[in-house]
Amino acid sequence: MTSLQTLSSQASSLKTVDASLLIAGFENPVAQCQQAFRQLLSATSEPGTLQTMVATDAQPAGLNTASWSLALSLFDADCTVWLSPVLAAQPALVSNLLFHCQTRLVEHADEADFALCNADELDTLQPFSFGSAEYPATSTSLILQVPALSDECSLSAGSGWTLTGPGIKFSRHLCVAGLQDSLQQELIHSRNRFPCGIDCFFTCDHTLVALPRSTQLSIDQPIDQPTDQHSAQES
């Protein structure tokens, strides 16, 4: 954790906009921000459903399409964002976030409203804010870029979960590749701290899936009960 923050503060020298690195954001910001938000709302209200996010022509090096779409629709000068060391070392990403979102980048993860990170960089949730019992909404929302996502447990190197809870009629399957074991354990155990917790968005290419703190996770076992994973796309 210390090394994460040290590296991150070294990268803070890059927090200026380099105009030569800028790319276009949404072509029609009002409509596309709204569409992206509705996808985020569907994702959060029905955890485990895969959303194909509104796309831009290009995204800054280091971010996938879904993360960039989320950033453009939710980030602004009123919220704080923490970048993982690898992402903070991407001048194009920093410049475009500062230019398009005017967002405030922070060095300490626990001060952040949003944290952007690659799955292979993160082995713990400890650096982030879980909110307090009286103000649980002050927690950090984590956007984690992963190598693969699926709602069927077909990924070879992924963690298969059965999800239950609000927004899920029976249960859903979710398979997220590339998560470190310790992070998975912490995600599962953090459910005991509800209403405190971390709301996660997993992104891969154009796809996004939400895992809010209210969703219960269990490591997949063969099950017989009905699931609504196939009806997940109907809305």
Binding site: Q34, R38, S45, C79, P195
Partner: protein, 293 residues
């Protein structure tokens, strides 16, 4: 009845609110959905109508609505009351969206004090206008205290209030704004809907968002979430019942309004949900025509 898509008036941003305000409200909505029943504070804005006329619901609607949406607005179940008509026109003008009076056709439904009789579908969003979002407010006036009570899940005071009803009247006399527990964790006010509508909240396939403009709070119930009305083992939760049926459609299972028809005390009972009543009356007419033929 669907109205053709109106063109958006010039001089306003899409759906009236500026983009930064919408983003702030959108972030609050996502938190609210992630913590079902918890009231998330937000920076409420002035709207071009007074508090108490649904400014909270309107701010939520303005942040959620898109050009593809079809909006329905109801006030006490009716599409044709002043509040409903004003808000529907407001969004038709500022967002240029299509509006409808049909529950089945709507993607967004903003409501004051009723849940439509027709069961809502997954993918629809129901947005409530909320006057007082804190269920414990009339028991404990201090926000610092009610916050602690929610944090500690200390809800005994509400059970005492309901018990006092039983002791005084012999039954739970609270008939609207009846407190519920969401997902077994947070106590929530469903807004001043009649308790008749409380069972519809439980496991509803549609997403429910609640906006309180005066108190600047947003809260939510995701689809398929457990919502239980408070009660006692020996005094279980019950909803209102009527001996009368609707004078227009004959419904004996919907929420009825009592309408005084003259100075001599004559009265009639009609469905409070105008769309549901219209639909039933129409199918009754069609049935009657078929029978004649």
């Amino acid at each position: 009845m669907s109205t053709p898509q109106m063109t958006q008036v010039e001089g306003y941003n899409f759906a009236y609110l500026d983009e930064q305000t919408k983003r702030m409200i959108r972030r609050a909505i996502l938190k609210a959905v992630a913590i079902p029943g918890y009231q998330v504070p937000f920076g409420g804005r002035e709207m071009p109508l007074p508090h108490g006329w649904g400014t909270g619901g309107m701010q939520v609607t303005a942040s959620v609505i898109g050009t593809d949406d079809r909006l329905k607005v109801i006030d006490q179940g009716a599409d044709d009351t002043t509040n409903a008509v004003s808000i529907r026109r407001f969004f038709a003008k500022t967002a240029g969206v299509e509006t409808t009076e049909k529950t089945a056709d709507a993607t967004l439904i903003q409501t004051r004090h009723r849940v439509p009789e027709r069961p809502l579908q997954n993918g629809q969003i129901l947005i409530y206008q909320v006057p007082v979002p804190e269920p414990l407010r009339f028991i404990e006036a201090r926000d610092s205290e009610t916050r602690k009570m929610h944090a500690l899940r200390e809800y005994g005071a509400m059970q005492v209030k309901l018990y006092e009803d039983v002791a005084r009247f012999g039954h739970i006399a609270t008939s609207y704004d009846y407190p519920v527990m969401v997902n077994g964790r947070y106590m929530m006010t469903p807004s001043p809907i009649p308790k008749f509508d409380n069972p519809k909240l439980n496991g509803m396939p549609a997403l429910q968002l609640f906006g309180a403009g005066f108190e600047k709070r947003i809260y939510a119930v995701p689809p398929y979430t457990e919502v239980q009305s408070l009660d006692f083992d020996d005094y279980p939760f019950e909803v209102q019942q009527w001996e009368e049926s609707c004078a227009i459609c004959g419904s004996d299972h919907s929420f009825l309004d009592e309408v005084i028809t003259d100075d001599a005390g004559s009265r009639m009972f009609v469905c409070s949900d105008t769309d549901y009543c219209r639909e039933r009356a129409q199918s009754n007419r069609e049935q009657a025509q078929e029978n004649e033929q």
